[in-house]
Every structure is written in structure tokens, then in C-alpha cells.
Symmetry: C2
DNA sequence: ACGATACGATACGGTTCCGTATCGAAACTG
DNA sequence: CAGTTTCGATACGGAACCGTATCGTATCGT
């Protein structure tokens, strides 16, 4: 028996992600379509996963990108880095897939948990950068960290996952968001 | 011939919204289920709409809430009002339904257009409040209006549609978001 | 080289939903 | 009140997919 994962496993998961990235919805995704795409018999899939949900959870785990590493120099620059990483994955398919998962995350506790497991480390990183800024005096002492995280990540998620503000340039948006939140809108 | 909409139309659309609000996804929604729920024959539905998509678009139009009216006194208070209305609809079913539509809006130009038609008046309202603030000197003269709108609406959408930050109280969030964006996070 | 295993393909019965057709009852029309 | 239309219900053939079973082949360990 080989200790490496059989090639079929890989093909099945890749086919799943490909189909999702091509626009198939989670529930429109059929085992038969995955099997055909992977060049695999249906039975091979059922031999490994009890059903579509389990396969999907395994496939989505592959999308988890790397967590960025703040430099620790400037709070502003670290925030730009982290905000730029919101909703940003190495796998280009992720950008297409993630919006389709919104209903699933709202419905299924398993998907919600998977989602939380992926983003919580990044949230913790941003939390620490904000606390560091408060400690060093770069940020207001009375800052509400949770609300500030929402201010920073909300606009990026809206842009990356929902693509709802066509007029915003995604490349420079992280800088604009961070600077906007840092400086505030009120005249002085 | 009566000039009022037949009662069947209403029952069909209500049944559609009810089923969606109960957690059915857009594509899991079947004409047969709608017909049964509405106490109507399938043929009655096909007599009025060519298919599921057209029915769905008509049904979703019903969810469009009223556009809030800024008072024009304080820019801050007007923003709190508008931000509080983001993702907020009169019909309580809307809160359940909207997250399920994210994939549809990304996929179908029709749904995207419908969505834009609903939110664009509200966005325009917020744009005008921000411009008024710049004019009266309440807001910075060099404010990027589009980015600021993203800062204000992004966090609320994340909270209302994805229910992402469980620790944030949704009732006071609009105030916190507006004040956070207005005042900025940088110490001074 | 050979026996065990895992594989791809395919067939199967069962289920759900599609979109159409039909039919008697009920509701309008004049 | 009779004629016409619309309705709810139901039946139908077709399609897609489920999860299982089977079968001949290719791969792998020894």
C-alpha cells in the first residue's frame, strides 16, 4: 500500500474546485459531473467520501491561503498588508468560489466552522496589530478594536467577494481603506 | 376582465418569498413546491411567467424597501440613518433571503441589474450627504466620496448579510461605524 | 509472474422536477 | 342564468441525479 495520497483523490478534489470556479453552485454540483470531469467512476468518489457535503468540505480546505506576516515596523503598513490579504487567496479559483459559498456558510454549521477556522488566524493577526498601535501610541487609546476590524475588512470583502463597487480600483483599495480609516473623514 | 391583479399572482409570489426565507436556495426552489405552497396548480404559474427566473425577479422586486429620508441637519446623523438602512428591509424575510442571492447576483446580469436598481438610489443619497458635508466644511475637502461610501456600507453589509462578527451589536453598529469613520483611528 | 486490489465504466431502480395536456369545478360576464 | 374563461388538481413523458452493484481491466505488492 502506498503512503501517498492516490492520484484519484487529487483529481476528484481538483475537478470539484474547477467546476465551482466555473460558476456551478454548490447544490447544482453533482457527483456525476465531478466524476466525469475527474475521469473517475462515481464509485471511486463514494469509496472516499460519504456524500457531496463531505467532499466539498475537504475540497474547500485546499483553498486556504497562506497567512501574511506583518513586518512590525509601521502599523499603517502592516494594516495595508493585512487588508490587502482579505478575501485574497493564492488559488485564483478562490475568488470565483467564495461568493458562491455565502449561502452555505449561513446555512450549514460545518461550513460556518470551516470558514471561521480559515479567517480567525487572520483576524487575530489584525487584532494584534491594532493593539500594538494602541500600545505604541500610533492609534487612539480608546479605539474599539472589533469595530475597527469591521471598518477595515468590510469594504475589502464587499469588493473582493461581491464585486459591487465597479468604480473602485482593487489594487490601491487597501491603501485607501487603511488611510481613510486612520485619518477619518471629519474636517479639522 | 378585472383590472386588479388576480389573487393567484399574489399567492404565488408570497409563496416564493416564504420558501426562500425558510432557507431554500434559489436553484433548489422548484415550481412544484411553489405551486403546492401557494395552493395553485403548476399551470397557473406557467400561465404568468415563462420560468423560474422571471418569477424570481418579480418576487424579489417586492422586497425593495423604502428609501430613508435624511433630515439635512447633521451630516453625522444623516449618515447614521443611511448606514442603519444598509441591508435593512421592511420585509423581515429579506434578511434571510438576501445572503442566498449573492451567487445569483454574481452570475446573472438580470439579478445584478435588479440589485443595482434597488441600491443605487440609496447610494446616491449617501453620496449627496457626503458632498453636502464637504461643502459645509463638516468633512475634509479632499475626501474620496466613493471610498468613504465603501467604508460606511462595507461593515454593515458584512454584518447583515454574512453575520460575520458575532461580537458586534447590530443595533448600535451604525453609530459606531459612522463615528469610527468620521473620527479616524490615528491618535492625535 | 501472479494474486489481490482498486479502478473506470456502465447499468439499475428510485426520486425529483420539468413543462405540457387534460378535465371537471368554480368564478366571472353580460 | 347560460356561456365563457380561469382555476386547481392530476397525469404524463422526459431529463437529471442519487447511491449501489457489477464487470472486465490495469495497477501494485511480493
Amino acid at each position: 500500500m502506498s503512503d501517498m495520497t492516490s492520484a484519484a483523490d487529487e483529481a476528484i478534489i481538483e475537478a470539484t474546485l474547477d467546476l465551482l470556479a466555473e460558476g456551478s453552485t454548490v447544490e447544482a454540483l453533482s457527483i456525476e459531473a465531478i466524476a466525469t470531469r475527474a475521469g473517475v467512476g462515481k464509485a471511486t468518489i463514494y469509496r472516499r467520501w460519504p456524500g457531496k457535503d463531505a467532499l466539498l468540505l475537504d475540497a474547500l480546505r485546499r483553498l486556504k491561503g497562506i497567512v501574511p506576516q506583518p513586518t512590525g515596523h509601521s502599523v499603517r503598513d502592516d494594516l495595508v498588508l493585512l487588508v490587502g490579504a482579505v478575501g485574497h487567496n493564492i488559488d485564483p479559483r478562490a475568488a470565483k468560489i467564495m461568493p458562491c459559498l455565502v449561502p452555505e456558510v449561513n446555512r450549514s454549521p460545518d461550513h460556518f466552522q470551516l470558514y471561521q477556522n480559515i479567517i480567525e488566524p487572520r483576524r487575530q493577526l489584525m487584532r494584534e496589530v491594532l493593539r500594538r498601535g494602541i500600545r505604541t501610541g500610533e492609534l487612539r487609546a480608546d479605539l474599539d478594536v472589533e469595530v475597527t476590524m469591521a471598518l477595515l475588512t468590510g469594504p475589502m470583502l464587499m469588493q473582493r467577494m461581491l464585486r459591487w463597487h465597479p468604480e473602485l480600483d482593487e489594487r490601491i483599495l487597501p491603501e485607501k481603506v487603511v488611510d481613510g480609516v486612520l485619518e477619518g473623514s471629519r474636517a479639522r
